[in-house]
């Protein structure tokens, strides 16, 4: 390899587990055939999640005259689970409140999610003159979220029933462009501008507290939220003073709003415009 070409690769794992707990008198082990003379009527209700994700990032940069060309990718597989469980206590002593709860006597609901994220990008930074730099590129993003129901309403749902939510929802945009420039007016003064398109991939929301028919409806009738951002501004530095004055215009499309009716659902509520001018100095 020559000094004009450099490459970088990163691999990672991430495990994250958490439990929110509530010592509740409302759900008793005795209601689940788990009673006994030493069993407390108070159980621990958890809302718990367990995430295991693995990913890799790679990029290559090639300097060619006034151009710096970079391309890369990101891949991630995320195995995510969310559960509502109940754990018994004895009359003699409660479970330690700051330790993970294990060995539940009941599970109210349990959902398994898999997120697969694939992203590619390519960009070019062109130093047109000493003062002017122009950059441009695009990314392609795909996020597949698969959901599978383990438990709903304290039982494993009948396979193929409406309670047996099982499916995949995809967020995809293969061309999300970004262009920008900086122009140096003086050593301590610069103007900048840019235009960016972006997409927010679906998260758990389309599958949360859903039936198969609710999930299918959301999948059929909604699109991922997206945005188009234009901004221009001026940066200035003088001794201890740094300041920036910028204006931006964002056009959002397919904004999603969660609604609570007889059951939860998401609806596309249309487009939104946002304009603002920021002036700050410090």
């Amino acid at each position: 390899m020559t000094s004009d070409l450099s490459v970088s690769a990163t691999a990672y794992l991430h495990e994250n587990e958490g439990q929110g707990i509530w010592f509740t008198p409302y759900v008793s082990p005795f209601s689940f055939g788990q009673g006994g003379p030493n069993v407390s009527p108070i159980s621990v209700r958890t809302t718990e999640y367990d995430m295991n994700r693995a990913g890799a990032l790679g990029s290559a940069t090639w300097i060619l005259g006034d151009h710096t060309i970079e391309g890369g990718f990101w891949y991630e597989y995320n195995d995510f689970n969310q559960d509502r469980r109940f754990y018994a206590n004895t009359r003699a002593a409660p479970r330690p409140t700051l330790e993970f709860m294990r060995n539940p006597f009941a599970t109210q609901w349990s959902y398994a999610y898999d997120f697969e994220t694939t992203m590619f990008y390519i960009q070019d930074r062109w130093d047109v003159t000493d003062a002017l730099t122009v950059s441009g590129g695009f990314k392609s993003v795909t996020v597949d979220m698969a959901v599978d129901t383990n438990i709903a309403g304290f039982v494993a749902p009948t396979s193929g029933s409406n309670a047996d939510l099982d499916g995949t929802i995809t967020s995809e945009d293969n061309f999300l462009p970004q262009i920008g420039f900086t122009y140096e007016l003086a050593d301590n003064s610069e103007i900048f501008g840019g235009y960016t398109e972006n997409m927010r991939a679906f998260t758990l929301a389309p599958a949360a507290s859903q039936t198969q028919s609710g999930f299918d409806f959301i999948k059929e009738n909604t699109d991922p939220e997206s945005s188009k951002t234009t901004e221009v501004g001026w940066r200035y530095r003088n001794g201890p003073f740094q300041g920036v004055a910028a204006a931006y215009y964002v056009k959002f499309e397919d904004r999603l709003l969660g609604l609570l009716r007889a059951r939860a659902s998401s609806a596309t509520v249309g487009d939104q415009e946002r304009r603002k001018r920021d002036d700050q100095g410090r």
Binding site: V7, Y12, I21, W22, F23, P25, F30, E99
Partner: protein
């Protein structure tokens, strides 16, 4: 060049009981969940079950049906509630070449 990283965090917390204005007037600003007093928490749960306030089965009728003052409800305090534990581990390795 090869670099390795390992990020690790563990968080444990106990939350305060939510208080309404009526609860503050009746129970005081310092009112909180029962922990570490397990016996009182179970006494209130037994009484709540005996009264039919929770819908859970009666398992200790001897506890009676009268809450110890100043408690008037199964929701005045619980034994404990929290975001008990969150644990995160993130190992990564980075390789760069020129």
């Amino acid at each position: 060049m090869l670099s390795g990283f390992h990020d690790w965090s563990e968080r444990r917390e106990t939350d305060y009981q939510d208080l309404s204005l009526e609860m503050i007037d009746r129970l005081g600003y310092k009112w909180d969940n029962f922990a570490p007093t397990w016996t009182l928490a179970q006494q209130v749960a037994d009484i709540a079950n005996n009264r039919g306030d929770t819908g859970a089965p009666v398992t200790n009728a001897a506890a009676g049906t009268i809450y110890p003052a100043p408690i008037v409800s199964a929701d005045d305090a619980y034994y404990d509630a929290s975001w008990a534990t969150r644990r995160s581990r993130l190992p990564a390795c980075l390789m760069t070449g020129m």
